[in-house]
C-alpha cells in the first residue's frame, strides 16, 4: 500500500468524496492515472513581441537575408524542418518535437488594423477583442464565466505568476495566480487570515461578502492546489529557470486530480530593439530546456495526447533589422502548437511572403481569434461563439 495514511486523511477531507474515490482506485492503475480525454491547455506568452522571422527562419528566401544582412540566422545554422523553414539554433528540442509529429507552426497570425504598442496589442490578444474595441475581461476569464458558474473549486484556470493577467479575468469568475501554492497565504499572519475568513459567511451579494468570498476561495484553493501538487511529484529533472520551475509545477498538477483546464505562463522580455541575438538566444534556451523537460515528463506519463501547449506574442517584429542590431515592433507573427494530439503537423500554413509587405511589415493571414475559437470548441468543448462574442472559422490542427 503506497498511500500513506496521513495523505489519505488529508485528501479525503479536502477533496470531495467523489473526487477521492477515483484517486484511490487510480493508484492501482498506473501509469494511466487520469482518464484520457481530460484535455488541458498550456498557454505560453512570449512577452515583448518575439521576432518570429528569427524563430522560424525562411532560410531559402533571399529577401530575408537582403533585409537582415547582419541579423539573419545563417542558412547553415538554422535547424531545418523542411526545405524552406528552419528553427532558431537555440530551439533543438522543438525540432525533436517536430520530427516526432508533435509540433505545429501557424504562420502569419495577427489581426486587422494592428497596434504597435505593447500594452494595447497585448490587451487585444488577452481580451480577444477587435482592435477598435476595449474589453475589461479576458478570453480565458470568459471561458470560466461560461463553464464554471457552479463550479465548487475556482481552480479551472491557473496562472503561474505573482500577478493575474487580464486574459484570466472574467465578468464573474477569475482564474488564480500563484508562484508557489505553499506561499499563497503563507505568512506569519496566516492563522489570523484563516480565523478572520472563518468568522464570516459569504451569503450576501455586497462588496464585503465578495471580498470575504474571494478570500475564502483563495485559502481553500491554495490548500487544494498545494495538496494536489504533492500527490504525484514528478521525478523528471527540470532546469532551475523560472519557466522550468513553472512547468514543473504545472506537470505535477496535470498528473494530479485537479480540475484545471487552462494553465498560463509568461516568458520575456522579447522586446529586442538592441542586441537581439544574445537576448533572444538566452530566452529561447530557457524555453527550449523547459519544454524539453516538460514534454518528456508528459510523454513518460502518457499525457502528451491530452495536453495542448501553444505560444503567442503580442506582435512580431519588422522584417528589416534596425541600426542597433535589433528589430522594431511589427505585426503578424507565428505560433507554436505542441501536442501529441495534433491533426496537422509541421508548417500548417505557408511561410510569410516577404515580397508582399505592407509598409515593411508582414501581412496577417490568420486571425488569432480563430485559434482561440478552435481551442475552445475542439479542445475544451466550450461555446466559443458565446465566449468570443462572434463566430470564427475553426482551423483543423486539432
Amino acid at each position: 500500500m503506497l498511500i500513506k495514511r496521513r495523505q489519505f486523511i488529508q485528501t479525503g477531507s479536502l477533496a470531495t468524496g467523489t473526487l477521492f474515490l477515483p484517486q484511490f482506485l487510480k493508484a492501482f492503475e498506473r501509469p494511466a492515472m487520469v482518464p484520457s480525454g481530460n484535455k488541458v491547455v498550456v498557454v505560453i506568452q512570449l512577452s515583448g513581441g518575439n521576432d518570429g522571422l528569427n524563430t522560424v527562419i525562411p532560410y531559402r528566401d533571399d529577401n530575408y537575408y537582403r533585409m537582415r544582412p547582419k541579423l539573419g540566422i545563417k542558412k547553415e545554422e538554422a535547424l531545418k524542418i523542411n526545405d524552406e523553414a528552419g528553427l532558431h539554433p537555440a530551439l533543438p528540442h522543438l525540432r525533436t518535437l517536430h520530427d516526432a509529429g508533435h509540433l505545429g507552426i501557424l504562420n502569419s497570425v495577427g489581426y486587422p488594423n494592428p497596434d504597435r504598442s505593447h500594452f494595447r496589442s497585448m490587451d487585444i490578444w488577452q481580451s480577444g477583442s477587435q482592435s477598435n474595441e476595449v474589453l475589461s475581461t479576458g478570453w480565458i476569464g470568459r471561458y470560466l464565466d461560461a463553464q464554471c458558474a457552479g463550479c465548487d473549486k475556482p481552480t479551472q484556470a491557473l496562472e503561474v505568476d505573482d500577478v493575474l493577467s487580464l486574459a484570466m479575468k472574467g465578468e464573474s469568475q477569475k482564474g488564480l495566480a500563484f508562484r508557489n501554492p505553499k506561499n499563497l497565504y503563507g505568512s506569519s499572519q496566516e492563522k489570523y487570515f484563516r480565523e478572520l475568513s472563518a468568522l464570516h459567511n459569504h451569503q450576501g451579494n455586497g462588496q464585503a461578502d465578495y471580498l470575504y468570498k474571494t478570500m475564502a476561495d483563495t485559502i481553500s484553493s491554495a490548500d487544494y492546489i498545494f495538496q494536489q501538487s504533492k500527490l504525484h511529484p514528478t521525478s523528471q529533472q527540470y532546469p532551475g529557470s523560472q519557466l522550468g520551475q513553472s512547468l514543473k509545477t504545472i506537470a505535477s498538477l496535470i498528473f494530479s486530480e485537479i480540475n484545471t483546464k487552462v494553465y498560463y505562463v509568461s516568458l520575456g522580455s522579447f522586446d529586442t530593439h538592441v542586441n537581439q541575438d544574445a537576448q533572444q538566444k538566452r530566452l529561447f534556451k530557457e524555453l527550449n530546456d523547459a519544454l524539453a523537460s516538460f514534454t518528456t515528463d508528459l510523454a513518460t506519463n502518457h499525457r502528451m495526447e491530452d495536453v495542448l501547449i501553444f505560444s503567442f506574442s503580442e506582435f512580431g517584429r519588422r522584417v528589416s533589422q534596425n541600426a542597433s542590431g535589433g528589430t522594431d515592433h511589427g505585426t503578424a507573427n507565428n505560433m507554436f502548437l505542441i501536442s501529441g494530439g495534433l491533426k496537422k503537423q509541421g508548417l500548417i500554413n505557408p511561410m510569410p511572403d516577404l515580397q508582399k509587405l505592407t509598409d515593411g511589415d508582414l501581412q496577417y493571414n490568420v486571425d488569432f481569434k480563430t485559434v482561440y475559437a478552435t481551442v475552445l470548441d475542439k479542445w475544451l468543448g466550450a461555446d466559443d461563439e458565446k465566449i468570443l462574442g462572434a463566430r470564427y472559422e475553426k482551423l483543423n490542427f486539432i
Binding site: 512577452s47 504598442s117 484570466m168 499572519q189 462588496q207 471580498l211 522580455s269 522586446d271
Partner: protein, 474 residues
Amino acid sequence: MDLQQQSKNIHLMWRAGFGPAAKDLEAVSKVSKKQLFGDMLKASSKPPEYIRVSTNTLDGLWKGILNEGKLQQLTKEQKQQIRKESREAIKNLNLRWLDEMVHSDAQLREKMAFFWHGHFANREINIFFQQKLLDIIRQNALGNFGDLLSEVSKSAAMLGFLNNQQNRKQSPNENFAREVMELFTMGRGNYTEKDIREAARAFTGWGFDLSGEFVFRKQFHDTGTKTIFNKTGNFDGDDVIRMLLENKQTAHFITEKVYRFFINDIADPAIVATLAARFYQSGYNISQLMTDIFTADWFYSNANTGVKIKSPVELLVGIRRILPMEFAQEEVQLLYQRLLGQMLFYPPNVAGWPGGRNWIDSSSLMYRLRLPQLLRDDEGFAAKPKDDDDVMMGQATQALQRGRINVNIDWEAYASYFKNTPRKDLALAITTSLLQGGKADLDLLAKYATDTDRESYIRSVTINLMSSPDYQLM
C-alpha cells in the same frame, strides 16, 4: 464623542479625499459634516502648483531640440536617452503627485484630479507633455468641464496619444474623434459611425509643435461641409467640442461616471438624472456638482457607506495619511502600484481603470491583505509585477524583495490621538477610525494583539485591522 457624526465625517473624507489624516482624528468628531465639506472646498480653491519633475539634463536636451526645430535630426542614441530620462522622470511625477495626495489640504481637488486622470487616460511617455497634462487636469479639476475637455483635447499628450497628429484631410485618422465621443463625453451608443467619421474630418489639422503647444495646421484641415448629429456646416474641432457639450447626454455620461466613482458602483438612475440636469444647467460647473453630492443626505446613507472598493492608489495613500511615514526607498511604492494593478500614468488602456470588483482577484487581494505587514519591522514578502514593455524597453522588472522595506512610521504621533481613550475602549476606537461601518470582531483582535505595552497594542491592532477585507472598503 458623537460616533455617528464621526462616521459620517470619515465617510466624507474617504470619498471627497483620500481618507482622514492622523492629524484629523481629533477634530473629526467635533465638526459638522457640512462645515467639514465647506473647509475641504475652501482648501481646494487655490490654484495648485505646477509639478515639475523634468531634470536639468532633460531640459537641456529638449531645449536643444526646440532650437534645432527637428526631432528627426537627433541621433538614435539621443532619442533613446530622451526616452529613458523621460521614463525616469515620469516615475518622479508619480511619486510627487502621490505626495500631494498624501499631504495636500486640497484633498477634494487631488481626488477630483485623480478621477479625471482615469477619465482622460493617457500613456504618453514624453515627460514634458505628461506633466503639462497633469497640470491641466489639476488646474481644472473643480472648474468648468467644458474648459477641462477643451484643454485636455488640445494637449500634446492627448493629441499624440490618440493619433490626431496623423489626422489629415487626405487620410483621416478617426481614433481621436472616436475616443472623445466614446470615452470623454457621450459614451457608447449615442452617436453613429458616420458622426465619428465626420467629426474626425472636423478635427483634421489639430496638432502640436515640439514645445507641446497646440497648433492648428491649416494645410491639413478639411474645409468641406460635414454633417454631425444631423447638423450640417463647415465645422472645425472647436465646433465639435461645443456640440458635444450642448448635448445633454454628455452631462449625463459624466455625472453617472462621477456617481459610480465617488458614491456607489451601482448608479441610482433618479439621482443621476437630477444631478445631471443641474450639472447641465450650471454650464458644467464641476464644483457645484460635487457640492450637490457631498451635501446630500442620501450620500451619507448606509447604502452608500463602506461599499466602494478602494483602488490601489486610494489604499496606499489612505494608509500613508493615517500613519505618518517615510520610505527609505520611495520607489517601492511604484512596485506596490504595479503589483496591485494601478500605476499612475500607465492606465491599462484608453478606457482607464475599470475599478470596482475588477481590482480584486485572489493574488491582488492577497497583496492588499499583506501590504500592512510591510509596515512591521520584521516582515516582508517577495513578489514580482508583470513586465511592462512600454515602461521597461526590454529590461527586466525589479522584484519586491523579501526583507526589510525600511519604512519609518511615526507610531508615537499616531498613538497620541488615542491618548485619552481608556485601554478597554482602544480597540473599538481604532476600529471606528479605520473601518467604514466600524465593525470588527473584537475577540479576534484581542487574540492577535500584542499586549506588551500600550503602543505595541495600538500598533498590532491597527495593522491587523488594515490586513482585513473590511479595510479594502470605503
